[in-house]
């Protein structure tokens, strides 16, 4: 079955919302400082609030639709696309994230009328603006026009845990969130799923039973407990 981009997005957002209630992993994530100290050149954007309606409590998951309008400007979309390509470049297994509609995913995510997405919107849009401000200060031009070596120098200050340049904690937080969204979008598309070998639910017409190796290991453990062996 081919899954449309919009349908996948709806499911991802739904799964994340449910996960927030049920998953202990998201609690771990909450240990990241929410608002680390920003550098002096961090921009404060005065964004008009998103007032569109959300899915509601009982969305139609058979024919999913996204009720809120997208809010990123063409320039922001282009920037997100460009960065996505650096975060997940093409290799032998899968295409560059810049060649997939990851910018659309990010736009849809941060345009959603929910508290977490609205927090992400401020962080992502301010972060995109900061990259250009910082790039101009360091290299005299926008991030997109910097050389690959210059871009790498900037990214290396904010992209690696334990190696964040002091004073750039807020940009690093932005980068962490952007990376998370780029990956979330990328690996929920068929190309990304193929890369990591995601199979999904697959029907099994027969059950061959556990492999001999597993049975042998189980029987060794049972024997140690003085219990009779399990038959294959």
């Amino acid at each position: 079955m081919s899954i449309s981009r919009r349908a996948t997005l709806a499911w991802v957002a739904g799964a994340v919302a449910v996960g927030a209630l049920a998953s202990p992993w998201l609690l771990d994530h909450a240990n990241t400082p929410a608002d680390p100290h920003a550098p002096p050149n961090w921009p404060k954007l005065d964004l008009p609030p998103v007032t569109a309606r959300g899915y509601g409590s009982d969305p139609n998951l058979v024919e999913p639709s996204v009720p809120w309008p997208l809010t990123m400007t063409p320039a922001q979309r282009a920037q997100a696309k460009f960065l996505a390509g650096i975060i997940l470049p093409a290799d032998d297994h899968s295409p560059s994230a810049a060649d997939l509609p990851i910018d659309a995913f990010i736009d849809e995510w941060i345009s959603a009328p929910y508290p977490q997405q609205q927090e992400d919107r401020t962080l992502i849009l301010e972060g995109l603006a900061w990259l250009d401000i910082e790039s101009k200060a360091r290299f005299g031009g926008d991030f997109a026009h910097a050389t690959p070596a210059q871009r790498a120098a900037l990214f290396d200050d904010i992209a690696w845990q334990g190696r964040i340049k002091p004073g750039l904690e807020k940009p690093a937080h932005f980068f962490d969130r952007l990376r998370s969204l780029v990956m979330g979008g990328y690996y929920s598309l068929p190309e990304g799923m193929k890369d990591i070998g995601y199979l999904g639910n697959a029907p099994a017409t027969q059950w061959p039973g556990p492999p001999d190796e597993a049975i042998a290991q189980l029987n060794a453990a049972l024997s140690g407990l003085g219990l009779p062996p399990q038959k294959t």
Binding site: V12, L88, R179, M183, G184, I196
Partner: protein, 215 residues
């Protein structure tokens, strides 16, 4: 979440007084193939950018499990409800006011559970990703993960319980409480079957008393 769990196993050690907390806990085991990024369990392992990030995504996808401690809460004198002296509902009746606190029993139990869980992961050859937190911070907020039981607890005397062992209220002769209210602690297991068994027992006694013409 997986329905798989590790049941409480230290009955003997507890009976021998080797543990510093009463009752027990179990682990819920989680682990599934979830896409990298956007709330991924591997957040924290997937680092940097570029070719190595794609390698991270392949390597850590589906390679994680989680152990969650679910323990029994012991009743304590700081956790109770009473009629609110000031707030009334729309019928003019006082609402319930709740007081609630964990005790050292829960903190010691959680500390034991965390220590053991970390040892299990390490023994499996894994790397523990969760930061080591004191039990006061690691424990979920009260009321977050619960089965609603207790409050009208059963007991053997009216001064420390609401009902007798048949769910019959000490104060009202023909009132029988047949739900989770009569539980004396909040066990770490699902309560429905016990609630049904207790309700059955209460109903038997109620029928018997009616036959005898006591009510």
């Amino acid at each position: 979440m997986s329905p798989t769990s590790i049941s409480w196993w230290l009955y003997k050690e507890q009976a021998a007084g080797k543990l510093d907390f009463p009752r027990g806990y179990h682990y819920e085991i989680g682990g599934r193939f979830r896409a990298p990024g956007a709330g991924s369990p591997a957040a924290g392992l997937e680092d940097g950018y570029g070719a190595s990030l794609k390698e991270d995504a392949r390597r850590y996808y589906g390679a994680q499990i989680s152990l969650t401690v679910r323990g029994e809460m012991i009743p304590n004198a700081d956790s109770y409800c009473e009629l609110d002296p000031a707030v009334k509902d729309r019928f003019g009746l006082p609402v319930l006011r709740f007081h609630w606190k964990f005790s050292d029993h829960e903190y010691r139990q959680i500390a034991h559970g965390i220590k053991t869980a970390r040892a299990i992961i390490e023994k499996l050859g894994g790397k523990v990703l969760t930061p080591e937190l004191p039990p006061q911070k690691a424990i979920a907020v009260g009321g977050w993960i619960i089965h609603e039981v207790g409050t009208t607890r059963m007991g053997d005397k009216p001064d420390n319980s609401v009902t007798d062992s048949y769910g019959r209220a000490w104060d009202v002769d023909n009132l029988v409480i047949a739900d989770g209210g009569v539980f004396t602690s909040n066990a770490h297991k699902n309560p429905t079957l016990t609630i049904m068994a207790l309700a059955w027992r209460s109903a038997d006694q109620l029928a018997e008393r009616m036959r005898k013409g006591e009510i």
